[in-house]
């Protein structure tokens, strides 16, 4: 048996449902890092400027 041949069983969807609540929180975090221009974070341009180099080099529009 090679290292890439383990076969897991499916996680039942009801077990996943509660965890899906984490998705909006994680997407909000990604939004604040990648796309906030002050409207959501209410920090003016501070957050934008702090994430500036990351935004450019992760490829999202910056300014």
């Amino acid at each position: 048996m090679s290292g890439l041949s383990t076969t897991p069983s499916a996680v039942p969807f009801p077990h996943l449902r509660l965890w899906l609540l984490a998705v909006p929180v994680l997407l909000l975090l990604a939004y604040l890092v990648l796309m906030d221009n002050g409207a959501v974070s209410q920090t003016g341009t501070l957050l934008h400027e702090l994430m500036h180099d990351g935004r450019h080099l992760l490829g999202v529009p910056c300014h």
Binding site: G3, L4, S5, T6, T7, P8, S9, A10, V11, F13, H15, L16, W19, L20, A22, V23, L26, L27, L29, A30, V33, L34, M35, N37, G38, G44, T45, L46, E49, L50, M51, H52, D53, G54, R55, H56, L57, L58, G59, V60, P61, C62, H63
Partner: protein, 250 residues
């Protein structure tokens, strides 16, 4: 089970984000610095009094050394967020789709995510260095970028649905899958407005090198993350299947 996957996704996403940040720091920061130097030579420090102005010089709200440290903060938090979402998608996919092994599924899902969420938007709205892009259009450009991300995800969903429902020979099936992916992507590429805000005289070499560094940063993130996540899942599955050998000192 899901909790283990989510924790794994968050931590390995953070780690892969920091590694991608190291790549961006080494390969991309010289281009960022060069672009800022050009920007300031062209228009010496416009006042940011209206709150929408933007400057990178000594009088900027956040100085360059802090912005370079912020690079790692940004890529790390990006990895954390993306890793968590990836883990939940992975939890929903495993045992339901091919490939069946965790390691192969993690690599296939990370590669697919890179194409859908990074490569498709990049081909329409490529990354731009400082000095390229009008601050007044940032909201519309961000919205267009998000639309291309959604197009990439939708195209992958259509391609996967096609793969599951078309039962033909291998070649017709893969042609159908490729067409199901490419048709929405090409249609969006043709229909959405073009953004070209590169200033006259901006060095083409610098633009190309910056864009390559930016795409490379995302490529490093997704390959490192996919490999780490798959490796960790396979390792956990192996030690669960063979507790005796896992307990033995290595």
């Amino acid at each position: 089970m899901v909790r283990t996957l989510v924790v794994r996704g968050l931590l390995l996403g953070l780690l892969a984000g920091l590694i991608a940040g190291g790549f961006a720091f080494a390969v991309g920061e010289p281009q960022v610095d060069a672009a800022i130097a050009l920007e300031e030579a062209a228009a010496p420090a416009p006042a940011a009094a209206d709150g929408h102005g933007h400057s990178h010089g000594a009088e900027a709200e956040v100085g360059r050394p802090v912005q370079k440290a912020g690079l790692f903060l940004a890529t790390g938090l990006y990895g954390l967020a993306v890793g968590g979402v990836f883990a939940l998608v992975f939890a929903g996919l495993r045992g339901r789709v091919e490939p069946r092994s965790d390691g192969c599924l993690a690599l296939a899902a990370a590669g697919t995510a890179f194409v859908a969420v990074i490569l498709v938007p990049f081909l329409k709205y490529p990354a731009n260095p400082p000095a390229v892009g009008d601050p007044a259009t940032i909201n519309s450009r961000t919205a267009l970028y998000v639309v291309m991300v959604l197009v990439g995800l939708a195209a992958v969903a259509i391609a996967v649905a096609t793969a599951r429902h078309v039962h033909a020979g291998a070649w017709p099936r893969w042609v159908a899958v490729a067409a199901a992916f490419l048709v929405p992507v090409v249609a969006a590429w043709l229909l959405l407005p073009t953004v070209d805000e590169v200033p006259d005289g901006f060095p083409a070499t610098l633009l190309w090198e910056f864009r390559l560094a930016s795409l490379g940063t995302q490529f490093v993130f997704w390959t490192v993350f996919g490999a780490l996540f798959g490796w960790a899942c396979d390792r956990a599955a192996r030690s669960a299947a063979a507790p005796m050998s896992a307990a033995a000192p290595s």
